[in-house]
Symmetry: none
Subunit: 216 residues, 4 copies
DNA sequence: TATGAATGAGGGTTCATTCAT
DNA sequence: TATGAATGAACCCTCATTCAT
């Protein structure tokens, strides 16, 4: 920060290096926190656990994060962003792959994200709710946006005649529900059968969402 | 039990009255706890809040319940029992009402249960997970049993030719997911539109589960 | 207490019986308390333990004793009285048995009292000190009186030429110390060798007190 | 340890200073606790009292000691070590001072230790027993070791023909008893006559232990 | 007299956060 | 920036005693 002086260029380099170091340390702490939160849950994770895992001093933690709940919130946002990024629309262009195929791909993507980040997801599914007003709001907003996204997509599909006439409002959160349950199932069954056969499950979920119990 | 003799009747009467009183007090405390838990969440509910709401002394609480987590567990079991009770199979008898009608009835039942016990459900959906090993186990077991129940029902339907050929394992937790999401939605939207039109929503969820997005 | 009425004699009989019953119950509670105190120590004995052992209700306890410390105090007094009673002087009469023999007898008496009431003594030796101002005072007074008794006896012995010239003040509490240690030893070694050979030990203690390490 | 290099010296110095400070604070808390324990007794001493006396915050206490009973145990061990250190054998060498003189010195040593650390001793004599399993064990072990030490010394004396033939087992705890009683007496009589004339008392106790009541 | 439900002061301990170095 | 000692509010639970029945 003390940048003005004889050799601004070098100073810049220093500042840059400092910033880089700071960022890398931040990330290290976040990583440690993520591991601990995932393993022990929010309430049973103490700041002591995080700093121990990160190999830093108590005070250092508060140099990078405002509070325990703040770092958790950040972790949560990170996760939500990753999930959001994996939600992409269907390409209806002429040369695009067939829609069902695309949908399968979408679901498999999320499923793999979940399986690959089991720890993260555990937090999202099992720990995030009811902690903090801010965290709660964040989560609610996230699910809300997913819901809106799904509803619009369904609305679109309806308009385009791809989907039948249905209550898109309700259908959207039904889909959301199936996805959340899928995530929970994947997270819960530690080394169980589901995770090993991710693709089959993803397909089956898609099938259910498309055709329901009765199907065609 | 009601032995007649020198004065056992009076004694019995007293004991009975005492038991009754005890039971009623227990219920009162449970009720108070339920309200507080629902409002503030498990972690932000202190024993102090419960005893204040119940209008009892600190020690009295521990006369009826072993601990904060114990009373929560009991509340949870109560709720799960109610929910379980509302899950009843479909009557396939000759004179039974048409199956779809029965299914609608089933869903509406749960929906009303949820709406009528918003407080309880809030706990179930938002607070119960990740608290206590015992609570966790209870919940997991509950969802497991619901899942098994659904799977068997689907298996049955398939065998009877009512349902199409599908992955009953996955379909079962998809249904579970839609129901949970429905509950959450109902619980979350405080005085919003959904709860007011419960029956419509219930129908739509059923419709989704039966026909999916594409439907016939 | 409500004694005046039509039939005083019968009333008297009733009152007497009542008093008797009361006394016997008191004794029963005392006995139960003694057992519990001896087993668990003062601080780890709760009123609950006592009433459970006595088979009475919580409130009943306070009908007979003012408090937990009160019943303990009473127990303590009882014990001190027993010990005091076993401390009797030496008969210097012409036809009396030889003095050493009498002394041996005195010590053996105390030793047997201790061994027979190990529970009681445990309380006295291990639990009584530092509890309660009143209890403390009681104990101090007791030891004081024993000390005075011993000092006077020694003074007497000196005057009669039986004992050599010594510091009776100090010698008195030396004797007291050996006796207390003896008691503690007897109490502590549960089923160990000492208690089995009580008489030998008593003799040896007397021998020590009379002749010291150097002896004649 | 004191590596020389870029700036390790300063670092070492800092760590050293920190350790020193930590140690001094530990000692301060121990001292405060000792005073409070001695004045109020173990059971009536609350952590609040200790931190108030030490002028520290609640949490700070637990930074230095695991629990109330832990700090007490440490205090106890400290005391026992001091006492143990004051127990030294008699030098039988040719040029050594006369044995009786040495013995007088030994006793006076303990007596002065006790008088100088009245607070500590109060704890040892009056409070330590029956508190905690660990504390109990410690004490028992201590007395046991003193007893063994004395017995061996007596055994030795017997073998060397200095002492008469006596039951060393019993004699050892008789001596122990006289010493303990002496300590108690010194501790109890607050400002009374005994403490002022410590040397006389020590001599008298020795005299008693050597010659008994009858003596030569 | 007997009961046992009710009381509530009080205690030990934890842990997120601050701050002097 | 980094440290880690210090802080103190907060919380759960115990248990001797009271009191309405």
């Amino acid at each position: 920060m003390k940048a003005s002086g004889a050799m601004p260029m070098e100073s810049d380099g220093r500042a840059e290096r400092a910033t880089k170091k700071r960022e890398s340390r931040r990330r290290a702490i976040l990583g440690a926190a993520r591991r601990v939160f995932a393993e022990k849950g929010y309430h049973h994770t103490h700041v002591s656990d995080i700093i121990e895992a990160a190999g830093i001093a108590r005070g250092t933690f508060y140099l990078y994060f405002e509070s325990k709940s703040a770092i958790f919130l950040e972790l949560l946002e990170q996760l939500l962003d990753e999930v959001k990024a994996s939600i992409v629309g269907v390409d209806m262009g002429a040369n695009a792959p067939p829609v069902p195929e695309q949908l399968v791909d979408r679901i498999q993507r999320i499923v793999h994200l979940v399986v690959d980040n089991r720890a993260l997801t555990t937090i999202l599914v099992r720990e995030a709710v009811g902690l903090d007003a801010e965290v709660d709001a964040k989560l609610r907003e996230f699910y809300q946006s997913v819901h809106l996204y799904l509803r619009d997509a369904l609305e679109n599909g309806k308009r385009m005649g791809i989907l039948r006439d249905l209550d898109t409002e309700v259908a959207a959160f039904c889909i959301l529900g199936t996805i959340k349950q899928l995530m929970e199932q994947l997270v819960m069954d530690e080394g169980g059968g589901l995770a090993d056969d991710v693709d089959r499950v993803a397909l089956a979920v898609l099938d259910f969402n498309l055709r329901g119990l009765l199907g065609r």
